[in-house]
């Protein structure tokens, strides 16, 4: 692993000539070389192109005019988002490879590249950004760097494990019901699902098009802000993209939470088998946030079950519309969890789908009313610290344990940050939710918390044996 764990530190070091982009990228590849066969981070690596981009970044640094906000930073792309260098597979035997080839760079990929980001390769995902691994299919099984018996969480699995293991400094995930936040939580890093429409999602294989988001995953909230500065903003190629002014999200990281009211919903009752380490970790986080100037009050998120249901109905139905022809003709080519999960959308009628959209609007209004009394809401990201790969297949209540889908239904921005570890050393995670398009306050809270905590900088034990280049 590199000496520089965060994008922010690496940028400082690059500017101060303490390291070159080439060294930084080589360090990242060295980390990947050491652990990828065990962790299943990459589907494809672009070593040659990445080193060429790093060399170009070094030339620009040497010329003394480092304009790109992410110049020389090794970044990975979830393999459901298209890139110029290689094919997009959605980790599936089914996806037509011509789809990504015809697109080239997705808008977000092009934006990272234009900011000087070094695209290191395509990262593992759950098939089509849904479900769990299927060992019978010819793809890597993502394993958690904190304990390789455990799943990374999904679906942005490789981005989560890649950042945690130093194989990349940051990367892109996508989030339809929690697919950025869950792997970020389980892998002990930060991840942001921005407001729906904040980041254009064209060039990404759709799962649930009214819920899908592309977002940054990195060690720190500050790194997420650095990436969001590059990723955010309207693009006409995505009909869902919002024409909302972009803020300087890094400039908003003041470290000061005074005057903010934060609502806490522990979601203590939504999942029976809650990890006992979660509540003490929340208590400690509340104490830290209070010390930073915030006032924390108890709240109840309205219509929790109903909105979580609306997300599932919407996500499954929209996915089924996309997958129906292939499910009809190529059932066995899909991962078991994909075909069973998406196929079960036959349970939903068109009216169910429409009603789900009505419930989403009711929920948006109810949540907006709550946000008249608080500036942010915090919850545990999940009621568990993860599942072992062995027990995944038989888990039927996974959705109840993960507290992320609700916020896809309403569209609000949600950042997750590490808040501790459970008794077997797996990371725990705190979710920070804000008003629509108020990523600034969400990131400010996450960053402030990380100024007084170091969970986000913890390195998985398995990495201690990986030499620094």
């Amino acid at each position: 692993m590199s000496d520089y764990l965060t994008i922010s530190d690496a940028l400082d070091a690059l500017r101060d000539n303490k390291i070159t982009a080439t060294e930084l990228v080589q360090d990242a590849f060295a980390a990947a070389d050491a652990v990828d066969s065990e962790l299943g981070i990459y589907l494809a690596r672009f070593d040659e192109q990445a080193l060429a981009a790093a060399a170009e970044a070094d030339r620009i640094y040497a010329a003394g005019d480092p304009a790109g906000a992410l110049l020389g930073i090794p970044l990975g792309i979830k393999d459901i988002i298209s890139t110029l260098e290689g094919e997009t597979t959605a980790q599936s035997l089914v996806l037509d490879r011509e789809w990504g080839a015809a697109i080239g760079d997705a808008v977000v990929t092009a934006r990272l590249r234009a900011a000087g980001g070094v695209i290191t390769g395509k990262l593992t995902t759950m098939e089509y950004a849904t479900g769990v691994p299927d060992p019978t299919k010819p793809f890597p099984i993502p394993k958690n760097p904190w304990n390789t018996d455990y799943w990374t969480g999904g679906s942005s699995s490789g981005t989560g494990s890649g950042v945690a293991s130093g194989a990349i400094l940051g990367g892109l995930g996508t989030d339809t019901g929690g697919s950025i936040r869950i792997p970020a939580a389980f892998c002990g890093i930060s991840g942001l699902k921005a407001t729906f429409g904040r980041v254009p999602k064209s060039g990404c294989v759709p799962l649930g098009y009214s819920l899908d988001n592309i977002g940054p995953m990195a060690r720190s909230a500050r790194d997420c802000a650095l990436m969001l500065n590059v990723l955010a903003g309207y693009d006409a190629s995505d009909p869902c993209a919002a024409e909302q002014p972009v803020e300087d999200y890094v400039a908003g990281l003041t470290g000061d939470l005074s005057g903010l009211t934060i609502g806490l919903d522990r979601l203590a009752l939504v999942y029976a088998d809650r990890d006992p380490a979660i509540d003490p970790a929340i208590d400690a986080a509340v104490k830290a946030l209070t010390a930073l100037g915030a006032k924390v009050v108890d709240v109840t998120l309205p219509l929790w079950d109903e909105l979580s249901a609306a997300t599932r109905i919407t996500s499954r139905s929209e996915a089924f519309a996309y997958h129906a022809p292939d499910l009809q003709s190529r059932w066995d080519d899909y991962f078991e969890a994909t075909r069973q999960g998406v196929g079960a959308a036959v349970a939903f009628s068109g009216a169910d789908y429409v009603q789900a959209q009505r419930v989403r609007r009711v929920g948006q209004k109810a949540l907006a009313a709550l946000f008249e009394t608080v500036d942010l809401v915090i919850t545990p990201t999940s009621s568990v610290a993860g599942w072992s790969l062995d027990e995944l297949g038989s888990m039927t209540e996974r959705f109840l344990a993960m507290h992320t889908g609700y916020f896809n239904a309403v569209g609000n921005p949600a950042l997750v940050v590490p808040m501790g570890f459970n008794d077997i050393g797996l990371p725990l995670s705190l979710q920070v939710v804000g008003r629509p398009f108020d990523e600034t306050t969400v990131l400010r809270a996450g960053d402030a918390f990380q100024r007084v905590s170091d969970f986000h900088l913890a390195v998985p034990p398995m990495m201690s044996s990986v030499a620094v280049a």
Binding site: S317, S349, Y353
Partner: protein, 487 residues
């Protein structure tokens, strides 16, 4: 040509009734030159509406007293020199699916909660009221803007004033009848798959389905939220322009309302269509085997008149026209079922016998069908937008046939018969239905002019240009014979 027939019936009409058939523009002029008062106009219309309602079923509720009070207020305003624009003192019909102060909203259904919308004006009604309009009453709608009448449910059954054995079409039946028979000078309809244009077509006047989002639709009982629109119905395109310039514009109460500037439509109708490019989508819209030749020929002859005024027309093709009609029906069915599901489960019998099976079909569509139809919708809208790079307007028949005999109608055929209106709800484009002549037997014929998003001014200008050289929109049904029936 049936002009003679209509002219005869017009001539037979007592002179005292003639002002019932004024256009809004003519009435507005008469109100200002003092040759008529709003009270006199309104009293006459209320009286005739009351007399003819048993025969025509145009109104669910006639709010005579309130109308006369509004008319009196308009006259007072005129006398005081206060002029709030061309709708001041003009009697209008409000479809009974739109909330209006002073009258309940029934949606012509036993199911709708009587408290729904009580005591409130929908934004569009409030705008008309602020412009000084007079509301004759709540006009008949198909139940929940869907289906066909069930006489056993106790609501007026609407009849076509040109031939009471024939359908006035739906769902804005009452406004269509009222305008044709002179029981209002204009009014509001709603259009989800053709419910403004269908009645305008078979009753022989003008009806505009606006661009989706052009007119806020809050205060309307929803049928299919992503397709619903409120539009003006009146004798002429010019009248529709006068109505639209009051109705249109953003309102935050409707999340679908578009924040797009509202032009002064009436001032843009200058009759100049020189260089206008007309596209005629031949497959499906002109060559379907269920399209009646009389309908097609009247449309093409109207197009020739436009060409004579400087327009050019070209035959072209829109792919997937039949599929687009199906997609509209599917989306409509699913969205309507989401609204009605709980009541269909609990109160099946309270729905009309022809409404409930039509609504129930929504249960057959899967969520993926709906999502797929929505994707098709985006794709087809893009196809149509591409076609519009080459044309200013498209012209089609408004319907494949003139008004059908009620006894011949089979509601189950609606899903399989061709239809030319739902396409423009699917794309959200503005489309105006205007008279294009009469059948040999004296029934109105109609053509449809479709424009680009928010190009209401263009479609109305083309319609108005044609109406400057034709009088089909001014002809009216032989209502004298109906007085005899009513008596």
């Amino acid at each position: 040509m049936s002009t003679d027939l209509s002219m005869n019936s017009s001539a037979a009409d007592a002179a005292s009734h003639s002002h019932k058939f004024l256009t809004i523009a003519d009435a507005a002029a008469a109100l200002r030159d003092g040759s008529i008062t709003s009270v006199a106009l309104t009293a006459d219309i209320v009286e005739k509406a009351t007399a003819l309602n048993p025969a025509l079923g145009a109104y669910v509720t006639i709010t005579g007293d309130a109308a006369l009070a509004q008319a009196a207020a308009a006259d007072v305003a005129f006398a005081a020199g206060n002029d709030f624009g061309p709708l001041q003192g003009i009697p209008l019909a409000i479809k009974d699916i739109i909330a209006m102060k002073g009258a309940g909203t029934t949606a012509n259904s036993r199911v709708l909660d009587p408290a729904w919308g009580a005591g409130t004006d929908a934004p569009v009604v409030a705008r008309l009221r602020a412009a000084g309009s007079v509301f004759v009453g709540k006009s008949t709608t198909s139940e929940f803007a869907l289906g066909m009448p069930d006489a056993s449910k106790g609501f007026p059954v609407p009849h076509n004033p040109w031939d009471v054995e024939r359908t006035p079409a739906g769902s804005s039946s009452g406004t269509g009848i009222a305008v044709a028979a002179g029981l209002a000078l204009g009014g509001l309809g709603t259009d989800t798959g053709g419910s403004v244009r269908g009645p305008a077509c078979v009753n022989g006047h003008t009806g505009l389905k606006v661009t989706f989002g052009r007119v806020p639709k809050s205060g309307v009982v929803p049928l299919a939220f992503s397709l619903d629109s409120i539009g003006p119905m009146a004798r002429s395109a010019y009248d529709c322009a006068l109505l639209l310039e009051v109705m249109a514009g953003y309102d935050a109460s409707d999340p679908n309302a578009a924040d797009v500037e509202v032009p002064k439509y009436s001032e843009l109708l200058n009759g100049d269509i020189d260089g206008l490019k007309i596209g005629l989508p031949i497959p499906y819209f002109f060559d379907h085997d269920q399209l009646e030749p009389e309908v097609r020929d009247a449309v093409l002859s109207g197009v020739q008149q436009l060409v004579g005024m400087g327009a050019t027309s070209k035959e072209m093709a829109l792919p997937y026209a039949a599929e687009a009609k199906d997609a509209n029906m599917l989306i409509l069915g699913a969205e309507a079922y989401a609204y009605h599901r709980n009541n269909l489960v609990n109160r099946w019998e309270d729905y009309g016998n022809l409404t409930r099976p039509t609504l129930a079909r929504g249960a057959f569509y899967t969520a993926a069908d709906y999502a797929q139809a929505s994707r098709f919708r985006s794709m087809w809208s893009a196809e149509v937008a591409k076609a519009f790079e080459h044309y200013d307007v498209l012209i089609t028949p408004s319907a494949p046939s003139p008004a059908q005999l009620v006894k011949d109608m089979d509601p189950s055929q609606r899903l399989v018969q061709p239809s030319y209106t739902g396409h423009w709800n699917l794309t959200g484009l503005p489309a105006v239905a205007i008279p294009s002549g009469f059948t040999a037997s004296g029934l109105p014929l109609s053509m449809q002019i479709i424009g680009k998003p928010f190009a209401e001014a263009t479609v109305l200008k083309v319609a108005d240009a044609l109406q400057r050289v034709t009088n089909w929109h001014l002809l009216h049904p032989p209502v004298e014979t109906l007085y005899a029936t009513a008596a």
